[in-house]
Structures are given as structure tokens and as C-alpha cells.
């Protein structure tokens, strides 16, 4: 069986961060904040976060914050809850949450909660359960979850029927399960029924798909796996086969991981592959928290010190 090509992946991630001139990077630069989260978290899991210039990253992050308190994907772009979470997560990685005006960020997020408990992504109002997870995760990291109406947020998530044995999409399922985990509300979930749907995502090759009849994709290794762990049903899939599938998705020559074997690599799938392997206890990787999607030692640091 192949091994995880740690050094190659580290090199790949660092190179991607520097390349600002290709068509891909121009078209993707509005979500550079997400890219920073994927790349840096993967580096931390691989034990190489110190390869990066912390001060440069932090000063860039702060330039992305708007008056409203929210963060944008890059300098000069509009703020959105998606990038706000990534910004907070990256600062947590570096143990630099103290550079934030926490009240300001919290105000931005609480302002996005609607009457029915749901959350909008930004001032333009698009509602999605992903945004519920993001709001809860972000405020939880900042230790001010109580600033939103948690009860209404939870009841909105439960009303979305993503957890009824899987009539939704798996990133949506992860977001619902994650949000419920972070608010201590997992007892509302029928874990057998949900675990059932999730374990049916594993296909013959060992990879996981997002919906029936779709091809397996490394990113689902995260969403399905972390959901299964949170509801304590991870023994319902074949872990060894999944490890093998993820390792087969590596580009061992140039570094990076792709969605499935022999496809082009990108930072997004590199992060999800490494995070998935961490959840599967692959040796040499730091442990990652399935709900916060941050290394366990980072989460412990937030809640158990100071």
C-alpha cells in the first residue's frame, strides 16, 4: 500500500500559496481565505505549520476585515460568513485570536440570524444550513455562543430534514450534525438511521460518495467520516479501504491530493484527504476534531487554557 508523501504535500501547499499569477489563482482569489484555512490546517496536521510566516498571514487576514466585523475572501472583496469562519479558524491555528475584537465579529454573525433561527450568508440574505453550522462553530471558537438564539438555531436545523435518513446532500448533513454536536443537541438525531445512510456512501473502491450513483470523492472522506464519528457509527464503514482510497488519490511525484485517483490535485482536496486520514488515525498526523475541523490541540487550547 502507498504511503503518505508528507514532504511532497508540504512543498505543494507552500508553492500554491505563492503562485498568484495562473488563471486558476486569479479566478479563485476571491476565496483565498478559505484556501488559507485548507492549506494551513493541512500543514498543521502534517506537523509543518512553522514553515509559514505568521505575521504576514495575520496582517493579510486583518486587512480582509470590514467595518461590519465580517471578513472577506481577499482584500477588496465583500464580507461573508464563510470567510469569517476561515479567518477565525486560521487565527486559532496560530493561537492569535487575541488580535481580534471579538465583539465586533460576534455582532456581524448575530446580525445574520433570521426570525426563524436560520442564518443568512451575508447582507443579501441567502439562507443555507451551512451558514448555521458556520455561525455556531465560529462563535463557539470565540467562546460567545450564547449571543445567538441557540434554541431557534437548533430547531431550524432539525426542521430541514437533512437528517431523516439522508434525503439531502452530505456537506449539508455534516453541517447539521456538526451544528447539533456543538450545541449539545445530538440526542435529537436518529443515529442508526443517519449512520445507515452515511455508511451506504462507501463504494466498492473504498472511497465515499456524496449521494447515490455518484462517483467517490476525497472530500466526502471528511464530511461523511466526521459525521459518522460524531454520531458514533464510524465502525460501520471499512476504514482500511478508505485509507487506501485516499492514498491512491495522491500525486506522489508533485505533491497534493485530488478528488479521485489520477485527477488533477488542488489544495481543497489535499486538506480533505489529510483531514480524512487524521480521522482514520493514520500514523504521524495530528488528531483533528470532527466538529470544529481544527486540530484537537488547538481546540483544547481554546477551551482549557486562560
Amino acid at each position: 500500500m502507498a504511503e503518505l508523501a508528507v514532504d511532497k504535500h508540504v512543498k505543494y501547499i507552500l508553492a500554491v500559496e505563492k503562485n498568484k499569477d495562473s488563471f486558476e489563482s486569479v479566478v479563485m482569489d476571491h476565496l483565498r481565505m478559505n484556501g488559507a484555512y485548507w492549506g494551513l490546517t493541512a500543514l498543521d496536521l502534517l506537523g509543518k505549520l512553522d514553515s509559514v510566516n505568521v505575521d504576514e498571514v495575520i496582517s493579510w487576514i486583518l486587512k480582509c476585515q470590514h467595518e461590519s466585523g465580517g471578513f472577506s475572501g481577499n482584500i477588496g472583496h465583500d464580507p461573508h460568513i464563510l470567510y469569517t469562519l476561515s479567518a477565525v479558524q486560521v487565527l486559532a491555528l496560530f493561537n492569535k485570536l487575541d488580535v481580534l475584537d471579538i465583539d465586533k465579529v460576534a455582532t456581524y454573525i448575530t446580525g445574520l440570524q433570521n426570525e426563524d433561527g436560520s442564518f443568512s450568508g451575508d447582507m443579501w440574505g441567502e439562507v443555507d444550513t451551512r451558514f448555521s453550522y458556520i455561525a455556531i462553530c465560529c462563535l463557539s471558537i470565540l467562546c460567545c455562543l450564547g449571543k445567538i438564539n441557540v434554541e431557534k438555531a437548533v430547531s431550524y436545523i432539525l426542521s430541514c430534514k437533512n437528517l431523516d435518513g439522508g434525503f439531502g446532500c452530505t456537506p449539508g448533513v455534516f453541517c447539521c450534525v456538526g451544528a447539533l454536536a456543538l450545541t449539545g443537541s445530538l440526542h435529537y438525531v436518529d443515529k442508526d438511521l443517519l449512520g445507515w445512510w452515511l455508511c451506504e456512501r462507501q463504494v466498492k473502491s473504498g472511497g465515499l460518495n456524496g449521494r447515490p450513483e455518484k462517483l467517490p470523492d476525497v472530500c466526502y472522506s471528511w464530511w461523511v467520516l466526521s459525521s459518522l464519528i460524531m454520531i458514533d457509527r464510524v465502525h460501520w464503514i471499512d476504514k482500511e479501504k478508505l485509507v487506501k482510497f485516499i492514498l491512491d488519490c495522491q500525486d506522489v511525484e508533485n505533491g497534493g491530493i485530488s478528488d479521485r485517483p489520477d485527477d488533477a490535485v488542488d489544495v481543497y482536496h489535499t486538506y480533505f484527504g489529510v483531514a480524512g486520514l487524521s480521522l482514520l488515525n493514520y500514523p504521524g498526523l495530528k488528531a483533528i476534531d470532527p466538529a470544529y475541523a481544527l486540530p484537537v490541540d488547538v481546540v483544547n487550547r481554546i477551551f482549557f487554557s486562560g
Binding site: S22, V27, H30, L31, S72, D122, F167, E200, P212, E213
Partner: protein, 394 residues
């Protein structure tokens, strides 16, 4: 900058463009040849034989892959500048008239506005997920509140979706437009109907497009009950032609939920048809069975005679369902993929059904299933799921 001007001029001169695509430079020569052969007159103003960067004919726009990066950069830079000017300027005019509580658009403000719209349009065709550009258009359009501008936004996003079927931003923009129009203009139902058709067209071209069908599910909350029933009928044919497309069944389930929520006294009747062997159908069957079971559960009111009739209904239903399992017990040769698939999916379906059946019926069902040899089939077809048998305490 010149490339950007060219692109924007083409977009301005041909507002009916309905398709955009990328062309490899070598293909321009082929296209030019084809055109000069088929047309006698060279008086077509939109066609420039010497142009190897843009191609515009029959309301189609082609962009050379060679110039994609530079024109994208130029569009972005122009857009950001225009946005900067627009924001500064509209702040100034707001301050000026704060006491009168109105904003008077100065002529230069209007020109910045049109710059923003012009550059964002070009930019979004090249980089369709740039939220900031979509937001800029929302800002301008929401200040004007004119229906033609809203329909222009629908047109632009449809154009983007013609080649970028899954663009989250484009779908989200459409939802914003519909929310803005809803309640203000009387032709909402027409718009919803057209919207649904658009999704169907896109779904035809890009199979199992979750975002497209998700958008269609979102539309259901704006439909009247009549529209929902119509959509349900129409999608049945589509589902029949695209049997493996789970998303269509997901849409039908959403419609059924919507219809039952809008019940007007009469009970909905669900067709449990004869399905072919595809997983999506088995999953759909789970949903339908669940609806039937829940329907029976909610119509019982605890009086014994009613429980008996419900028990009978469930019994008849189960006996019929079990007939579907018969073929699987006689399968010897698992080498044929179709037979194997049928066995796996039907077995999983029955295990799931057991989970759903209310407690007091379980024992009867278990007896029936033991007779039907379900456990052996399970071990034979998908041994890695054998643990589910124990989970269900069978």
C-alpha cells in the same frame, strides 16, 4: 484594456447572446472558413474575419483561451476601480441630501453605475463565482427597483448557467431576484414556471446537478398547489426517462411534501408504481413507503376498530412488498451485475423497512422475512452490511 473594450462592445451590441464558450485559437480558423462558405455577403457587422480573440455569430459568443487570463485581469481591475468610484460617489450624494431623506443620482453617479454594470457583466462571464461582482449588481438594481433590470439579471445569470451549470453564485443571484420580485409584480407565477423550465433544460445537459435541482426545490415554496400538482405530473415523465437521476426524485419528494402540507381535506394518493431496478428508485420507494406508513399511523386514533383496519392495510402492503424480494432468493449466479444490484438494493430496502415499521408489527414482519430467507441473501450480497441485521435485533 483593449481586449476588455472589445468584449464589452460585443456584449453591448448583441444583447441576445444566449451561449458563451471558450475556443482554442486554432479553432478560429475553422470557424472563419465555415462562415465564409455558408454566407454570401460579408456585410454581417458582428462578424470580423480577422478576429482571432472573440467570435460572435448567431447570438453565440466564443472567447479564445489565449486571451482568457489577460482579459479576466483587465475586467477585474476595471470593475474594482468602478466600484470604488461608485461607492465613494454614492456616499457623497447621500450625505448631501441627508436632510431631505432622498438620494438624487447625479449624472456622474449614474455613469459610475453603468460602468459598474458594464464591467461586472464582462467579469462574471469570465469568473462567474465572484460574489463581490454579483453583489455590486444587486446593489445597483435594488436602488433602481425597475422590473426590466431584474429581468436583465435573470438573463445574465441564465447565460452564466448555460456553461457553468453549477455556479452557486448564479443560482443564488436568481433566488435574490425572485425574492425581490415576489409580491411586487403580478406575473410571479409565470416567472416561477419559467424558472422551473430553465432548471429542467439545464438538468438535461448536466446530469444529477444538485444545485439546479436544489434551486427547483426552493421554488416550490413560491408555487400554488395547482402548480405543484402540475409539476409533479410533468416530472413523472422526466423521471421515467432519467431513472438514475436521484435529484429528480428528490424534487418529486419535495413537491409531495408541499402538496400534503397544502392539503384541502382530501387525502393525497401516492402511486406505488412498478419500478425498474435502479438504486434511486429503491431509495425513492423508501420515501414513499415511509409516507404510507406515517399516513396510516396518523389516521389511527387509538380506537380498536380503526387500528384493525390500519393493521390490515399495513399487512397487505407488506405482503405485496415482500413479493419484490422473491426473485432474489432464487438468484444463484451473482456474476450478473443487474441481478446482484437488484438483490443488494432490495435487501437494503427491506432492512430499512423493518426499521421504520412501528414496534407492534415487527414480530409479524420478522416471521415473514425469515420465511423469505432475507438473512442469507444479506450475507451473500453485501456481507459488509451484515452488522445491520444485529442492529435491528432480528
Amino acid at each position: 484594456m483593449d481586449l476588455l473594450n472589445q468584449l464589452e462592445t460585443i456584449l453591448e451590441s448583441d444583447p441576445l447572446i444566449d451561449e458563451v464558450g471558450l475556443i482554442h485559437p486554432s479553432q478560429f480558423i475553422t470557424l472563419s472558413k465555415e462562415c465564409s462558405e455558408s454566407s454570401n455577403s460579408s456585410a454581417d457587422g458582428a462578424f470580423r474575419p480577422a478576429n482571432t480573440k472573440f467570435w460572435n455569430r448567431d447570438h453565440k459568443l466564443g472567447i479564445s483561451t489565449e486571451i482568457l487570463l489577460p482579459v479576466c485581469k483587465a475586467a477585474k481591475s476595471a470593475f474594482m476601480d468602478a466600484m470604488e468610484q461608485y461607492k465613494t460617489h454614492s456616499d457623497l450624494s447621500v450625505n448631501k441630501h441627508e436632510d431631505k431623506n432622498m438620494v438624487y443620482p447625479s449624472s456622474s453617479c449614474q455613469s459610475f453605475e453603468s460602468e459598474v454594470m458594464k464591467h461586472s457583466r464582462a467579469l462574471l462571464l469570465l469568473s462567474c463565482d465572484l460574489g463581490t461582482a454579483w453583489n455590486a449588481r444587486k446593489l445597483v438594481v435594488s436602488k433602481k427597483q425597475q422590473l426590466p433590470m431584474f429581468t436583465d439579471e435573470l438573463h445574465l445569470s441564465a447565460l452564466v448557467l448555460s456553461y457553468s451549470h453549477k455556479s452557486e453564485q448564479a443560482w443564488s443571484h436568481r433566488r435574490w431576484v425572485i425574492k425581490m420580485i415576489a409580491g411586487k409584480y403580478s406575473n410571479l407565477q409565470q416567472i416561477i414556471a419559467k424558472e422551473s423550465e430553465l432548471v429542467e433544460k439545464i438538468a438535461e445537459r448536466s446530469k444529477m446537478n444538485y444545485r439546479a435541482w436544489n434551486h427547483r426545490c426552493w421554488l416550490v415554496s413560491y408555487m400554488t398547489r395547482e402548480q405543484m400538482l402540475y409539476e409533479l405530473k410533468k416530472s413523472r415523465d422526466w423521471a421515467g426517462l432519467h431513472v438514475a437521476d436521484n435529484s429528480c426524485f428528490h424534487y418529486r419528494r419535495r413537491l409531495m411534501l408541499g402538496i400534503s402540507e397544502n392539503k384541502q381535506g382530501d387525502d393525497p394518493s401516492y402511486d406505488v408504481e412498478n419500478y425498474q431496478v435502479v438504486k434511486a428508485l429503491w431509495l425513492h420507494r423508501r420515501f414513499l413507503s415511509l409516507c404510507l406508513i406515517r399516513h396510516w399511523m396518523t389516521t389511527t386514533d387509538g380506537i380498536s376498530c380503526h387500528s384493525t383496519s390500519m393493521a390490515n392495510e399495513i399487512n397487505i402492503f407488506l405482503d405485496k412488498e415482500l413479493c419484490l424480494l422473491d426473485p432474489c432468493s432464487t438468484i444463484q449466479d451473482m456474476e450478473f451485475e443487474d441481478f446482484e444490484a437488484q438483490a443488494i438494493y432490495s435487501t437494503m430496502y427491506f432492512l430499512w423497512l423493518i426499521k421504520q415499521i412501528p414496534e407492534f408489527r415487527k414480530i409479524e414482519l420478522q416471521e415473514k422475512l425469515k420465511a423469505g430467507n432475507l438473512k442469507n441473501i444479506l450475507h451473500k450480497t453485501c456481507p459488509e452490511r451484515s452488522f445491520l441485521w444485529d442492529v435491528l435485533e432480528l
